[in-house]
Symmetry: C2
Subunit: 310 residues, 2 copies
Amino acid sequence: MAMDKYPSRQGDHKEIMDRKDPIVHGGADYDGPLEEKDLSFYDENGYIMLKNLFTADEVKLMKEELRKTMENNENRDAPDVIKEPNSNEVRSVFEIHKDSGFFEMLSKNERIVKAAQQILGSDVYMMQSRINFKPGFKGKEFYWHSDFETWHMEDGMPDMRALSCSIILTDNYEFNGPLMLIPGSQKWYVSCPGTTPEDNFKQSLKKQETGVPDNESMEWLTEQAGGQIDRATGPAGSVLFFDCNTMHGSAGNISPYPRSNVFFVFNSVENKLVEPFSGTEPRPEFLANREDTSAIKPQAGSLTEDVSSR
Amino acid sequence: MAMDKYPSRQGDHKEIMDRKDPIVHGGADYDGPLEEKDLSFYDENGYIMLKNLFTADEVKLMKEELRKTMENNENRDAPDVIKEPNSNEVRSVFEIHKDSGFFEMLSKNERIVKAAQQILGSDVYMMQSRINFKPGFKGKEFYWHSDFETWHMEDGMPDMRALSCSIILTDNYEFNGPLMLIPGSQKWYVSCPGTTPEDNFKQSLKKQETGVPDNESMEWLTEQAGGQIDRATGPAGSVLFFDCNTMHGSAGNISPYPRSNVFFVFNSVENKLVEPFSGTEPRPEFLANREDTSAIKPQAGSLTEDVSSR
């Protein structure tokens, strides 16, 4: 097994340790939508929101495609389709970048892929993809977590050289449960108490109970951010990029306004998955791609043009 | 039984009806802290936040007194003390305006009593009082409701001529589950589906399941507000006044920052409670005072001076 730079889940032990990898790995060598000031904001805070990276027409199209994909999956009972308990209502569909259609095209769009390359400093591949529909009135809370902690322990991601890209398809307000992020939290790794049960993912997709940071560490991380927690608010069409180790979570949504998004996880081709550091079996392919890890070739163009030419 | 201007809980029936009472009953005839523009904001929106109505020193004192009252009630097992399930941690203490001490003095302070008189257009009495401590990390969601709906159905409050006054003792941020209010919602009454079980209050203090507005009505109310939902954010020492019929709720609080407040419900002496309109037994005195409904005489002065002279 590779040396474990970021141990976690060691019984009662908890610890805040320094990050041992860069945050922005690339930079000026890579061409893309992020300017120098964007990269330095990302480096400092662990995320950046690019407002209106996609046009209103493109958002409209994405929402239609999202709705179609949800509907097509209503009667499919599979692990990569997450439904409401006791109903056929679809909440998330994974692996959408393999749909040989719209979402595959979107996953290669240069606006997002080139930004990922700029940050990760290499070619990138898709480690995970999904679409999410979070209903109004009853949208559930998601507690604080670092994605990297799970990806490292349960998927065997060696280094902090991956990011999430969330394309926001509905306006995110302060009052409909936007993603909350702790600025600067990516600079530390919270080694969480606990151990990893086998097949932990089956329940952690609903509510994470392993890899949960302790209260004291959360207080410390928030204090280093000057007591401020940021929210990913913005109009539909905005795109949030955030580091694999940025501490994030969201409150529930009791407002009438649902939220939906397209979610891509880009990993550096130089950071491919090895054996999980928790010693458990790797999670399924739909949560962490190991088979197809070839570099994505960024594709230029508008999504609406691409569709009409298909 | 008095004529029911605001029927609710009639089986499956749900309806949005016009408010039949004024929102601001008083106004210029009454002397107090609210200016003409404040009263017209309240009339239009159903609430107003007065920033820093109490000084930092007064807030400090209030927090100390709150902590003491909580501690004194840790080992008292009584209906007016609300604890965490399976623990002795106190979350709310009711009837604090009868403590013959600090909170009784606070409940008569002219800064708040005179504002209540200005809005309600008469002398006022205390219908309910409590202190609340909402912890960080695990603060629970409170779903949308109009207080008046419950006070009318379960306490027999005839008209919409009461208000809540929340003295904020900790900074309220966007990210620690602030109270959310639907501007303008006080202008309509949502007749809710359902019926009232006996002793409903025992569980409704934890999670309200009766008098819950339907989704369609909530969508309508939010649309009339231009799709905007306001949040009662502000520094400690601010005071929020809101109409008894303003639709409000709050998301959970996963941030490390707890929230605490002092909560007073002022009712007009011309709007005393009658038999509950649901036909059930009146709720206990600590939730809805019927015995002592004498007009409060506003007392001038600083809380810190009052204390040192005691």
